[in-house]
Symmetry: C3
Subunit: 352 residues, 3 copies
């Protein structure tokens, strides 16, 4: 999309300086910018900028960092407003109604208007795909699914039967939603599969990373709340509840029936036992481990296996690094104590 600097500033509710008529058509890094690029500077000016020459057509930055001869949109939060600007200059694509002739759409499926379906897509019976959604090459959607409006399913994403997506959900390539949960009961001889007949509900504005797997509920529902953002290669087990606005980094795994409340932030490679609960606003550092059934209180930062409040864990970890010193001190104490005891005994025997 193309906007003049003045238009874009107006849409963002920000002031600008310089040539308001200048046209912008993309967002760029300052090292790859061209003559229609919007770039941004946030906090620290790249040293290359000392020349005062602006690479690109316009910079989004703060009053403090701008040079008077630059074209600039002025912001107190350059990184946030640059991201907002990108929503105009490089908007999320919207379906244009093209359906590739190789797509196999069950006659009982409902495809709303402006839906775009790529080659070799398969859509099952009684599935409904909402307005302007995009299903890219090789996507497979099972029976009885519901997709809201403006969803984007990247190539080869897979929905098992009965999955529900809200509006503006993005699934990256290779993501698998609705696979069987992992539950077996040992009968003394073999593992009998516990039924995995529940469903998955993914609410509005969720983004799910590449090759992430989200299992269906065993009997109930696995739910991903509004606006949650989940990175690549994450595992979400049956009956998990991820609430509104939660952020989960790559390769984290969440066991069955665990609940992550609103706006919690979870680092990468974190592991959660089953039936745990993370309260609203908690932050859990990368590689941490949360024990089954554990309740992690809100509004704090945690780290470690098992998780402890960050400050406590950092202190313990520092002491872990001082174990050799502590060991040596103990050894010395024991030697000196023995010496002192001996001297004392000698003194006592002399006294008698």
């Amino acid at each position: 999309m193309r906007y003049s600097i003045a238009e874009l500033a107006r849409l963002l509710g920000l002031a600008f300086q310089g040539d308001g008529e200048r046209v912008l058509s993309l967002v760029s890094g300052w090292d790859t910018a061209d003559n229609e690029s919007l770039i941004f500077i946030d906090g620290q000016k790249p040293t290359e900028f000392s020349s005062n020459l602006l690479p690109g057509a316009c910079v989004l930055t703060s009053q403090q960092l701008v040079y008077s001869h630059w074209n600039a949109i002025l912001s107190e939060k350059p990184k946030l407003d640059f991201s907002r600007a990108a929503e105009f200059l490089a908007p999320r694509p919207i379906g244009q109604g093209l359906i590739h002739p190789t797509a196999i759409i069950d006659p009982e499926a409902t495809i709303e208007e402006a839906v775009e379906i790529g080659p070799y897509v398969v859509v099952g019976a009684r599935t409904r795909v909402g307005r302007s959604s995009i299903l890219m090459a090789g996507v497979s959607v099972g029976e009885n699914c519901t997709l809201g409006e403006n969803c984007i399913l990247h190539p080869r994403t897979i929905l098992y039967p009965g999955v529900q997506l809200g509006n503006r959900v993005t699934l990256h390539a290779g993501a698998v939603v609705g696979g069987d949960g992992f539950g077996y009961i040992f009968d003394g001889r073999k593992h009998v599969k516990f039924p995995q007949v529940g469903s998955v509900v993914i609410e509005d504005d969720v983004e799910i990373g590449a090759n992430t797997t989200i299992d269906r509920g065993s009997l109930g529902v696995t739910r991903i709340g509004c606006g949650a953002k989940i990175d690549n290669l994450v595992q979400i087990a049956h009956n998990v509840e991820i609430r509104r606005g939660v952020v989960i980094a790559a390769q984290t795994g969440i066991s069955g029936s665990t609940v992550i409340e609103d706006h919690a932030i979870i680092g990468g490679q974190v592991g959660f036992g089953d039936h745990a609960r993370v309260e609203s606003g908690a932050v859990i550092g990368s590689k941490a481990g949360v024990l089954p059934g554990k309740i992690v209180r809100g509004g704090q930062v945690y780290w470690g296996v098992p998780v402890r409040p960050l400050q406590e864990y950092k202190k313990l970890n520092a002491l872990f690094g001082r174990l050799p010193e502590m060991k040596k001190q103990i050894d010395q104490l024991m030697v000196k104590q023995r010496e002192l005891e001996e001297k004392f005994s000698k003194l006592l025997s002399k006294e008698e």
Copy 2:
């Protein structure tokens, strides 16, 4: 499938009470049950049940928990018998012989009767697919593979050439079986690939999770034994042997040539070095790490990096949490010892 309460109880070898003619057609959780649902209660009655009203047509529970006016199938192991009931009410699907016209099956492949093949499936030369197996949309099976009877390959699963599956194997979406093992020899300048020309054998009744990867043997075989259950996003390297009935939770990684013996249970996000061995019946907790070449003895529970017996590890971990106290005690001991020494010296000098 539909069964009367009396029929189902008879198939399970259990007693029932109430209306034996009542028809059941699905298993449900107690909160989503409808008038043909079988539900179960195991140990703890949901508080909502205090009303004595049974949600659903029948409950599978123990004599201790049942109300006399309920329709019930009585069991001392409700969760296990509910799972067995689900095998009747919601049985694993079996191929019905439909082959989608877009499936590309090599003329040299052998497809036995009742095999079901979905759209855009590709089957390579000299591959044999056993009776009643199901290959869902977009599955890709390489040359020279063998699939037993009643296998289910979910959408977009991939078998490299030469993979062998037993009977009733289930592969979830995106699983990749038979990819090259990861082995290189550095020649001083570059990494030369060690040949990865072995195969993968997956025995009967194995279930493999979504986006899990199982590499082929480099020269020999990677083997997954009868009835093993492997969760999502697990990595199994070349020449690994997973024996009968082993259970492996999500995101665990097993390095080359490691052996996991019968009925071991492995948690999520566990890592194994190469050439390790886990003896029969060992249990390894989530996020544990097993060093290369390590032998983990059977019949015990382990945790930690590197793994230690659970009780030992828990004790160590508790002491880790007491490091600040230990540090303080050492500091105090050093102060007091110095004081004592000084007092003692003073005394000695007085004595002389």
Copy 3:
């Protein structure tokens, strides 16, 4: 491919003994060898070899281990030279120019000669596929991609738009290259997506494992250097730089903008915070954790969370195992010190 023992030895620049005319057609393990197999023995002779009977047509081994009546190619580095021999006997496949009629190739794409394209492949507009590359079943290549010569994309690999591959790149099944990086700015109410409009460059001779995910740069480039080898289920975030010859084992995750310099070796399940840097030749053990911004010095081995030099970490870990002993020693010291103080006080009071 078929070579006589004499020809193969000449190609490898090695001496041989025995029947130089004997034909070899495959590499095998000694337990699965047939009468055209080259096998190898490196260091330790399998006990089964005590019979002196050579399983297979020829052994590649050292002067010290060979029997005089064997057909043998002699090498001081048998494992390396066996790997080199495999490059002749079981060479990497090269495209033969077959394009399956179901492949959907955009009219604006450029397919060079001898490219091989399997069924249900999709190639986007303005993408160029270099000579003799192979795109297997169901591969999806977006718009504006560039693939060099002799690349192999295994089934269902996915390139998002704008990805560049060098020559002889191998992508295993289910790998996803060029997905959006994971970056959001919280506006106080919701997560606004930071633009993910950069690209991915994968240089010559890189191999990427199954279901691995490599995100595009947010504004700049994510780069994988010449000859790097990356295992299955690895996560590489936006703007990461993996340099020449780096090796990364399975399930490791690398956060945004981290740099791994030449020939570093990274174990499995390692986690890297963002903006970290691993210097050339460093080795990081499995399950280690590197903090954001951390610089890991080259030429050393590291382990632990957070990483420490291996020897230091091993020492700390050994002391961790001795915490119960240390605790006990501290307790005894405190008891004895109290006793000594009391005795001393008693003595003093007697003195007075």
